[in-house]
C-alpha cells in the first residue's frame, strides 16, 4: 500500500465521562470509514478528558476485548485502524497516560507517556506513572511509532522511534493554548508546528499530529492538527479551536523520493551516538 488515507479526529471531550466520549469516538470512526479512511488518530486522553486529577483511578481501563470501552473500539478496528487516547491501569495498578493502536480487532501497540510535564500549569507527575519504553511497531502501512504531547517536546523520543524503524510518527496531544501575543497564532501553537515540521525534515518521515479542542475550566485546547511529509511540507491542517474530522492522503512513496535525495537515515551514525551517550552518561 503506497497511499494511506489518514483522518485527524480533532475532538472535544467530556471530562471524566468515558461513555459519552466513546460515543463520539464511534461517531467519528463511522464518518471516517464512510470517507474511506484507513487510519483515524484521536488526541491525548481522548476517552477521558485531560485535567483528570483525582478522577484518574475512576476513568482507567485496560485495552482488552472484554473492556466496556475497548470492546466496541476493537470491533470498529476491523474496518479502520484506530489510535486512541486513554488512561491505562496496569496489572500492578499503576496509571499511565496512554495511546493504543488498534487494528484488525487487536491491540497492536500501547505507548505509555514517558515525559509527564509537572511544571507551570501541568501536574501530570502527581497523578500518573512514568512510561519507560519507546518502541516502534509494525502496522499494515509499515512501521510506526506513537508519542504523546510532552514526549515530543523532547528530541530523543522521536529520534529513538526513527532509529527503531518508524517512518510514520503518530503524535497526539491535549495542548493547552498559551502565549497570546500580537501574532495570529498562540506561542504554544507556533512551537508545536515548528518542532513537528523539524522532525519531519530531520527524520525524513511523516509526522501526524492530532491535538484536541474545547475548554476545561479556563484552559482551552487549540486544535490545528497537522500532517507533515518527509520534505517537511505541511500537507494537511485542521482548523484552530473547532472540532473537525480532517482527511488527508499520505503517499508513502514520498519516503523513497526524499531519502534518495537526502540520505540522512542512511548516514546516521548510531554507533557513534551510542558511544558518546555511554561516555556522557557514565562519566560521573
Amino acid at each position: 500500500m503506497t497511499q494511506i488515507h489518514i483522518a485527524l479526529a480533532q475532538i472535544n471531550t467530556v471530562l471524566g465521562d468515558t461513555q459519552k466520549n466513546l460515543g463520539k469516538h464511534l461517531d467519528y470512526i463511522h464518518q471516517a470509514v464512510s470517507q474511506k479512511a484507513d487510519l483515524i488518530v484521536f488526541p491525548e486522553l481522548s476517552l477521558t478528558g485531560y485535567v483528570l486529577q483525582d478522577l484518574v483511578p475512576s476513568v482507567a481501563h485496560k485495552p482488552r476485548p472484554e473492556d466496556a470501552l475497548f470492546g466496541p473500539l476493537l470491533a470498529a478496528s476491523r474496518e479502520i485502524d484506530i489510535v486512541v487516547g486513554f488512561v491505562d491501569e496496569d496489572d500492578r495498578h499503576r496509571f499511565f497516560i496512554s495511546q493504543a493502536y488498534l487494528s484488525r480487532g487487536e491491540v497492536a501497540h500501547v505507548h505509555h507517556k514517558v515525559y509527564l510535564p509537572t511544571y507551570g500549569l501541568f501536574d501530570e507527575g502527581r497523578f500518573f506513572a512514568w512510561g519507560d519504553e519507546i518502541r516502534a511497531f509494525d502496522t499494515r502501512f509499515g512501521r510506526a511509532g506513537m508519542l504523546i504531547c510532552e514526549d515530543f517536546w523532547h528530541a530523543s523520543p522521536p529520534y529513538l522511534l526513527w532509529l527503531d524503524g518508524a517512518d510514520l510518527l503518530l503524535f497526539s496531544s491535549a495542548s493547552p493554548g498559551r502565549g497570546l501575543t500580537n501574532e495570529p497564532k498562540l506561542e504554544s501553537a507556533r512551537w508545536v508546528e515548528h518542532i513537528n515540521r523539524a522532525y519531519a525534515s530531520l527524520f525524513t518521515s511523516f509526522v501526524v499530529h492530532t491535538n484536541r479542542v474545547g475548554y476545561e475550566d479556563g484552559l482551552h485546547f487549540w486544535g490545528g492538527s497537522t500532517i507533515f511529509n518527509p520534505d517537511g511540507e505541511l500537507i494537511a491542517q485542521a482548523p484552530y479551536h473547532e472540532e473537525s474530522l480532517t482527511l488527508a492522503t499520505v503517499d508513502l512513496g514520498g519516503l523513497h523520493r526524499t531519502r534518495a535525495r537526502l540520505p540522512l537515515l542512511r548516514d546516521e551514525r548510531t554507533s557513534l551516538v551510542n558511544a558518546e551517550l555511554n561516555r556522557i552518561v557514565n562519566k560521573g
Binding site: 471530562l15 485535567v51 497570546l180 501575543t181 500580537n182 495570529p184 475548554y215 475550566d217 482551552h220 479551536h241
Partner: protein, 281 residues
C-alpha cells in the same frame, strides 16, 4: 555622572481576533456545560464591563445577555449614560437597579463610616443584585476583573470580584483597552480615566499612585517574565515603585484564593480533593 535609565517599553499588544475567539468560546462553553444560556453582568459605564458585555453578546447572542446598571446616589450621571451607550450598541436590554436603599440601610447605622467601608458595601450590594438576577434568569454572572486589578488586589473580596467565570482575568488593563478599541467599544469609554466611581472625581490611578500604563509593564516583567526585583531595577524601574508593587501583590494573595481549610482528615477540600469545576461536563 550616571544617566538615569528609562525602562525599555514592553510590547503588550495582543492579536484581537484570537483573543475574541478564545474568550467568546470560553463564555459559550462554560455556560453550555452547566446547561444555562444567559450571561448576567453589571455595566458600570467603564471599559472592563463594556468589553465583557461585547464578548458575552458575541458568545451567546444579544437576547441571552442580561445587563444591569446599579447606581448608588453618588454615582455619576456620565457612568449611567456610558452604560446605556454600551447596551444600545450591543442591542441588549438594560435593567437599572439602584443600590442606594440597600447600601444606606447599613451605612446609616454607622455615622462617620470611612470611604473604604462604604465602597466595599456598595460593591457587595451589587454582587447581591447580580447573583439574585442570575437565579431569576437562570444565568451565570460574568466577571469583569482584569489581570492588573487581580494582581494588585484593587478589588472588593466577595464584591466586584465575585463571579461565576471571568473572561478578562488574564488581560492587563492596557490589553483590555486595546481589545475594547478593536471590538468597537465607544472611544469615550475606552479613553476616559478608569474609576471605581465611589465618590466624585475618584480615579483608579490616583488611588493606586501610578498609571496603568506603567504598572502593567512592570507587572508583565514580574509575573509573566519572572523578573526579580533587582532585575526590574536593572531594567530601569525605580526601586521604591517595584517594592511597593511586589508587596501589594503579596499582601493581596488572599483575594485570589478560597479561604484555607484547616486540615484534619486524610482527604480535605482544597488540598487533596482535586477536581476541576468542569468535572463531568
Amino acid at each position: 555622572m550616571s544617566e538615569k535609565k528609562v525602562p525599555a517599553a514592553v510590547d503588550l499588544s495582543i492579536n484581537s481576533d484570537l483573543a475574541r475567539q478564545i474568550l467568546a468560546g470560553f463564555i459559550r462553553s462554560e455556560l453550555a456545560r452547566v446547561g444555562l444560556s444567559k450571561a448576567v453582568l453589571g455595566l458600570s459605564g467603564g471599559v472592563d464591563s463594556a468589553l465583557a458585555c461585547v464578548l458575552a453578546v458575541e458568545a451567546l447572542g444579544a437576547k441571552n445577555v442580561v445587563a444591569v446598571r446599579m447606581p448608588y446616589r453618588t454615582s455619576s450621571q456620565e457612568s449611567l449614560e456610558h452604560a446605556q451607550l454600551v447596551a444600545d450598541k450591543a442591542g441588549i436590554d438594560l435593567l437599572t437597579v439602584p443600590i442606594t436603599e440597600m447600601a444606606d440601610g447599613l451605612i446609616s447605622r454607622f455615622p462617620g463610616m470611612d470611604q473604604t467601608r462604604r465602597g466595599n458595601i456598595m460593591a457587595r450590594c451589587r454582587m447581591i443584585v447580580l447573583y439574585d438576577l442570575s437565579a431569576e434568569q437562570h444565568g451565570l454572572v460574568i466577571g469583569t476583573g482584569n489581570k492588573t486589578e487581580i494582581l494588585l488586589g484593587y478589588t472588593t473580596l466577595f464584591g466586584d470580584s465575585a463571579c461565576a467565570l471571568n473572561p478578562l482575568g488574564d488581560l492587563y488593563k492596557t490589553q483590555v483597552r486595546q481589545l475594547s478599541r478593536d471590538l468597537s467599544v465607544p472611544e469615550v469609554i475606552v479613553a476616559k480615566p478608569p474609576t471605581a466611581d465611589l465618590f466624585a472625581g475618584q480615579t483608579d490611578e490616583a488611588d493606586l499612585g501610578y498609571t496603568y500604563a506603567s504598572v502593567d509593564q512592570l507587572l508583565y516583567l514580574l509575573v509573566d517574565e519572572r523578573y526579580s526585583i533587582s532585575d526590574c531595577v536593572s531594567a530601569g524601574y525605580e526601586p521604591g515603585f517595584v517594592e511597593r508593587v511586589v508587596e501589594r501583590i503579596r499582601r493581596n494573595q488572599f483575594k485570589r484564593m478560597l479561604p484555607p481549610i484547616a486540615k484534619l482528615s486524610n482527604r480535605t477540600v482544597g488540598y487533596d480533593f482535586l477536581y476541576l469545576r468542569d468535572w463531568g461536563t
